[in-house]
Amino acid sequence: MAATSITCDVAIIGSGFAGSLIANELSKKGIRVVILEAGPDVQPNFNAYMNSFYRASSKVPESPYPPAVFGFDGKFKDPATVAAGRPSSLTVGGSKKPGDTKPPTWQDPNKAYLDQSKSTRPFKSTYERLAGGTGHWMGLTPRLVPNDFRMALRYGKEHGFVDWPIGYEDIRHFYEQAESELGVSANVDDQRIPGIDDMFPDSYEYKMPRIPPSLFDQLVGDKLSQLDAKDTQFLGMNRPVTSLAVRSLSAARNSQPYRNRRACSGNTNCIPICPIQAKYDPTITLNEATNNGARLVHHTVASEVLLENGRVSSIKFLTYDQENGPPTGGGVIKAAVYVIAANGIETPRLLLMSKNNGQTPNGVANSSDMVGRHLMDHPQYLSWGLLPDPIFPYRGPLVTSAIGELCDGPFRSQRAAFRVSLGNEGWTTVVGGGARFGADPNVTTLDFVNGTNFSGVNANDFTGLGGDNRALFGSALTNTLGNLLSRQFRIAFPIEQNPDPDNRVKLSDSVDALGLRRPEIHYDISDYTKRGFAAAYQLKVLIFKKLRATHDFTKAFQDDPAAFEIDGIPERFTYGGAGHVMGTYRMGKKTEPKTSVVNEWQCSHDHPNLYLVGSGTFPTVGTANPTLTLSALALRTVDDIVQNLPSLKS
């Protein structure tokens, strides 16, 4: 195999949000940029992805995208036979039953890409490895709030909280720049949070008008407009809560044509894929970057960061042609500045793999031993219910409105914060609190066709059909399904996770088809976060009551490895992954190199020409979806790279 050598000014590993934004800004300035992408190139169109999605029997977030999760035999492909693998929602479940000799799916490295065999609980979030990164994002772009940057100062260090080295003011300008680049639709007043001033200057306007609310948003907003302060005391806010505002959420979805992309037509498919790219994804910026002269090299997996005299001297890579490998070549990329933008799991994996012939046994940029630690997500508390009247879900973007005002308050010294996200997609996520029987509309349809009750709704209480487990044909079937499916709703509570050094990414003994060690995950949920679930549960009960949703279809199975109980609450909990992989190479002040990996510019404390970007740098995670914040941080890092490049080149 011949060795390849690439030279440039700035080498970027990963072409997702952070990598694409940085590549574009630098190449606009005439800086020579090369991006290494582990997966396939930008596709000429979405036809192949849409085809895979339509064909998929489980329409999970990864379903449109390569590599295939299943082999031709219909069984999970062994991740050891995949060149650039990635986790799948289909391999985060499963439970061990009495007599089983094999581990459950989520703990079986022969089925699951992430080795979780030693983890306490499953880490359920997934990501993609292809040009443009994780396109299966919701498109929601709320900002963090000022206190999210100073958790230790405001709410104490008891729960592992630390302060960011920067504050909201330092990033505000870059939020605006990111909102422009991604193309965010919102009304500023909807994004303001009561009691939190100064988030937006009076003159600020988003690029496009807001996305209009769904029928469900309108209903919930109406029902929560008048509350008894006694009923909401449990929220622990510093004010009586006599109403909860349902507001249109900012989103990188076009509400009108923007930058040659059309307006959203409500495909109800933000995750896994917007068929018309009305929702921003990084291939848009990536294409601009390559138009500006950046070079994208795909099917190319960075395998080791090499050091010389305290600086990164080059990054080794392997190439492959076929999805299943083997490696077909390799080489090194040499640059003045290196940016690793490979997400919260692959970035620490690369750093930890970089042993430099034993000279860096703990990996590169890891004198603090913090690389890979503090893995966080926003564990999702999901609930499903049935309304007395139709609100016609399965229409519009997946989420159009939310309740954001509970994301900060004095309660945060005691329990995790959360937001409330209202779903427009009925029970498609999963039915019955676990993906066990599949998703709707399939499960409910199947129940009424086949006389079963896996959905829980084929009972006389809901149907009035004079009996349970009814099997129907003809107009009885259309009437029943039309009625029940159009009354479904979903509410999710994404809950803050506090940093825990033992929630971490390490290197597994299991490898991929390139022979590289795969990520090993250790993950659990703290009591602080569980107390957030408890408060979310109380709010859920209140909202269900206000909606007159008499039955809660949320359910955690006894053998669910994610399930847990909370004293005094008559519900067994489980959580979903939000797809927010955060915290694994956190930022800190220049004076804190022992407790953090990068400084406020996302530059390694250890190596002045190495930048680590993406949500892995978040020291704490708040409750906002991380994409906008990581994009703003990436744009902020551009300034530092531009400033330091001349001296680093010499």
Partner: protein
Amino acid sequence: MDHGRERSTGETGALVPISKISRRTMVAGTVATTVVAMLPLHNSVFAQAALPDKAKQDMMAFLILSVALTGVDISTLAPEFSRGTGDLVDADPGVDPFNIKQDYFDQLNGPGTAAVFTSLLNFVKKNPLVSQDDIIAKVNASDDTKFLARSIVLLWYLGSWYDPVDLKNAATSPESVDGPITQKVLSPKAYTQGLVWPIMGAHPMGYSNLQFGYWSRDPHDQNPDQKGNPVPLFNPAKPLR
């Protein structure tokens, strides 16, 4: 020089690709079906592929059966259906650009289900004007026909093939079911033509022909029909004569 691995419009460095990159197998041959699914109706090319008489009768029998089982009108199941003046089984099922009915017919007429399927078609051919209730009573009379009929409805509703054997197992011993019932999406076209979506006033996820903002309004047509009645969300079955 082989540029297969790189993509750039500018000269930014010395890249020497090592080997030729092969097209992903996923990309190959996947475009056609998506394109077909977006063609407008009334394309005369399709009308030429008319069926021979026996096949036409079988298709008509399948449609009569399907209308009764699905509760959806024949004008939705077979948009180019033409009643004519003869017997109902001799009417013209028509050929439309999607022609999903033929895909479903072929699936049902395949190994494992053809015999029971044929028996149902023969029943309808002998009794073409039988009421929809009587068709339902007929299929419910034996397990073989009942579970195949359920597979038929699931094809029309979801575009997915659920084997009648799996349906019978799930219905008779639900306690043994520990995961989703095995199903196969017949094709991208079948998914996008699923009837459960219009029945609930929606569209297949990932396949919207609607306009920005529709989701903030009730899906019902706000104008009544010519007789002043509200317009239903989908086209409910009318008796065939």
